[in-house]
Subunit: 275 residues, 2 copies
């Protein structure tokens, strides 16, 4: 029998090429920076909160939007337990914590409630957060993106003016594949990539030895191959994880910590490319 | 002014309660086991491939379906570079590797191509993989689920007879939130939970010291609180990561490795609950 090699049908292929859309900035904000990684669990939310606080420490007015509808982590990472208020029953006032204006689906539902939603519901929630939240005079809004290359990414790229994306990855081979997919996605959707970060680069035990648990150097190599900025490495650090787990990010809790200094240096660099 | 505390509107709330559906088993398979974690990057795919191979080593016929449309990792983890064949242009023949029948969206597209798709496209791809793949006489099909609680999870839970789910997590607090959401999702969707696995439990350096990088004991505690089986701990292991990165999973490459033995023990236990 004549066997054919299978590939994607024309209908599927057609849909991988997005159309062009008119894009609007998020009201009440100047610049939108997306913190992204096609792969989950690489420390994106820990990066986003600490990076936002680092931007704030440079004198900017900063907000953080948790765009991860399925796995919001902002309430826990920023120790926010109250619900946002609304003056008219339609718009939402962001919650201020550690000097950041914050919004997350996790403020609206019990933290253990799963959002078992299909794509169009997610898109609708993202639109609420970008159109109905009264962000107040922000220089930067940092958007903590969910993993993947789906509804949330498409909604941002097609309908919202994203000024730049930072791609986070751990250095193991299997994660790097997702980095390449992420770069191609942003290039295709015409979102500028501000740079790549190598997270959980190594673990330093008490004797000073550096254990390259997830391998080495992959993210920097990809940055070069794809002609993107390499923003630096952040090691695995128990203080950083504990601070995230206890609701006071390290940059806020301990701005002089060596890890905090890495965040502040990156934030200063990124800010310099905008202001 | 009269300020109200915001919460989800009725329309949103209504949609968090799924309806009931008629469910069919995946053709050519006896039991469907979903490997899940609401959070990404916890080692789900590494677990799924090694667990499938461990099941095979107990004498079962096993297939693995990579249901992560946005971040397929099966081609890389199993070193599969060829495309699946089709005898009639509609159905797909799974690719056999290391004795497992395998299918992934990554077999159909270039590995660096991002699938920039909205939810309905994802649902359509999942239906193709569960209805049009010629799985051949399998005892078990292991499904490597994507992170989140969205389209893929809903499609499986509503339309496919899933016999049980294994939830994987790393032990840090922020990951445990996603475990709780995952448990609630499966309970709501009436998918039996076979048990929870604590992955990347600790890192043992060469001097034998155990570093609890991501904290300790959280997954086991949640298992008890929610009255679910605790299947055990898997430490961070460089051999396990390297094997995944080089395309020959550790259970296949080195079945006598201490980590392989953990997988085989878990697989034997799970198998015993079905056969």
């Amino acid at each position: 029998m004549d066997k054919k090699t299978a590939s994607l049908s024309g209908a599927f292929k057609g849909n991988t090429e997005p159309k062009s859309f008119s894009k609007n900035p998020i009201k009440g904000t100047k610049f939108t920076i997306a913190i992204s990684s096609a792969k989950g669990g690489v420390g994106k939310s820990t990066f986003a909160t600490n990076f936002a606080l680092a931007l704030k420490s440079t004198g900017s007015k900063v907000g953080i939007l948790d765009a991860d509808i399925y796995g919001p982590s902002l309430p826990k990472m920023m120790a926010i337990k109250n619900k946002p208020e609304s003056e008219d029953g339609k718009s939402l006032i962001p919650i201020e914590q550690y000097g950041l204006q914050c919004m997350s689906i996790g403020f609206l539902v019990d933290e253990e409630t799963p959002m078992i939603w299909r794509g169009p519901m997610v898109t609708s929630a993202i639109k609420t957060f970008t159109e109905k939240v009264l962000w107040n005079n922000l220089d930067f809004i940092v958007v903590d993106m969910p993993p993947g290359t789906g509804d949330t990414q498409l909604t941002f790229a097609q309908q919202i003016k994203v000024d730049g994306a930072i791609i986070i990855s751990t250095p193991q081979e299997i994660a790097l594949l997702d980095v390449k997919r992420g770069i191609k996605m942003f290039d295709k959707l015409k979102v500028p990539i501000l740079g790549l970060v190598d997270n959980m680069s190594f673990f330093e035990s008490e004797d000073g030895e550096k254990h390259k648990i997830f391998g080495e150097g992959g993210v920097e190599k990809i940055s070069k191959n794809y002609n993107k900025e390499f923003l630096g490495k952040i090691p695995i650090d128990i203080d950083l994880r504990v601070a995230a787990d206890t609701g006071k990010p390290l940059v806020e809790e301990c701005p002089d910590h060596k890890i905090s200094k890495i965040f502040i240096e990156m934030a200063t660099k990124i800010k310099g490319s905008f202001l």
